[in-house]
């Protein structure tokens, strides 16, 4: 069994919020996703990926802003990792 990984970046920390970014890595070698290869996300929400059979195995933690850096922006905050085998 080879793992396929889907990473979804969501609009809020809720799993049923809209997808704003995405990545795919295919351990089967059948597809070769890469940077900038699509303009439309594979699912509208994180929940839609679950409904299509993807299994959630990691979600980003909710980390409070570091004092003095409350207005800094950086990586996308709401990152969810899914897999199919």
């Amino acid at each position: 069994m080879k793992q396929q990984v889907l990473v979804l970046y969501l609009a809020t920390s809720a799993l049923d919020s809209d997808v704003v970014g995405w990545s795919r890595y295919d351990g089967t070698g059948r597809t070769h996703p890469t940077t900038g290869d699509a303009d439309e996300p594979p699912y509208k929400t994180g929940l839609a990926a679950l409904q299509d059979g993807w299994r959630l195995f990691q979600a980003s933690q909710l980390i409070p802003p570091h004092p003095g850096h409350e207005y800094d922006t950086s990586f996308l905050k709401h990152e969810f990792f899914f897999e199919k085998l």
Binding site: V7, D37, L76
Partner: protein, 272 residues
């Protein structure tokens, strides 16, 4: 063609502050594009870090002619001011059928200057079609604090720009923009010339400010992009307001009270 330097308007600079880049489509004459392709194929001369732009390139080079075009010279002066220095320049080539794309990244190292920025000029001397690996860039990413390819895990973002453009297109980008060369699925080499310029003067009202109070300025600065998280999007506007204040010298400017509200610290007064 006009020979007078064409400064940017306030609305254009506000667009740059919001999006992190400004496109000038097809502004370079075809004759110069052809000279550039020949020169890029042959290789370009090295330029030492910090060389004044005025002394960096001989007048007969395509680079000098490109940067002297009134529309290009005016846009650069509007953003980095007169007499910038050359940080570095390079030829970027996406080879035919090379199979993969660059990771999404910001250039150089993390650079969080609140009141100054470098500009990178990207020049495409030939048409770039959808499958030629035109640069991927992410509008509104330039104020996010990431270091180089640490963002490489992210492949696609809603509202990203996969550049297609006519020959002779110039894109000016803020140093912090997230970008990457896309996979070239054609049989043609895809060229891009890039030069990074450092300001040598404070970047305050360097453009044509006659439209500074046009409502369109605020509208540009208040642009939300589809990839922003709901909450972080508000911080993006807050941070743009701070940059616009730095660029205009107007520390009262605000949008929807975002900065004013969180900096309101009434002093204790005696009521005696």
């Amino acid at each position: 063609m006009s020979t007078t330097k064409q400064l940017l308007t306030s609305v254009q600079v506000a667009r740059f502050v919001a999006q992190g880049f400004l496109r000038l489509d097809g502004v370079v004459p075809q004759e110069l594009n052809e000279d550039a392709i020949a020169a890029l194929s042959a290789g370009i001369p090295a330029v030492s870090y910090g060389t004044p732009l005025a002394k960096a390139f001989q007048e007969d080079t395509f680079i000098h002619r490109l940067l002297a075009l009134p529309v290009v010279a005016g846009a650069l002066e509007s953003l980095v001011g007169p007499e910038p220095t050359v940080d570095h320049h390079a030829v970027h080539v996406r080879e035919p059928h090379e199979g993969s794309a660059q990771d999404l990244h910001g250039d150089a190292i993390i650079d969080v200057r609140p009141d100054a920025f470098d500009v990178q000029l990207m020049y495409y001397p030939h048409e770039v079609t959808a499958d030629m690996g035109g640069t991927l860039s992410v509008p509104g990413s330039h104020l996010r604090r990431i270091n180089e390819t640490d963002i490489g895990r992210v492949q696609n973002l809603r509202g990203q720009t996969r550049l297609t453009c006519p020959a002779g297109t110039v894109v000016l980008v803020h140093h912090g923009i997230w970008h990457g060369g896309r996979r070239n699925d054609t049989g043609r080499r895809r060229y891009m010339y890039k030069i990074r310029l450092n300001p040598t003067v404070p970047q305050v009202r360097l453009w044509d400010t006659s439209d500074l109070h046009d409502p369109a300025v605020t509208a540009e600065l208040n642009t939300y992009f589809p990839w922003y998280e709901q909450a972080t999007a508000r911080l993006e506007i807050h941070n743009r307001v701070l940059l616009w204040r730095a660029l205009t010298g107007d520390d009262t400017f605000d949008i929807d009270y975002w900065v004013t509200r969180v900096t309101n610290r009434p002093a204790l007064r005696s009521h005696a």
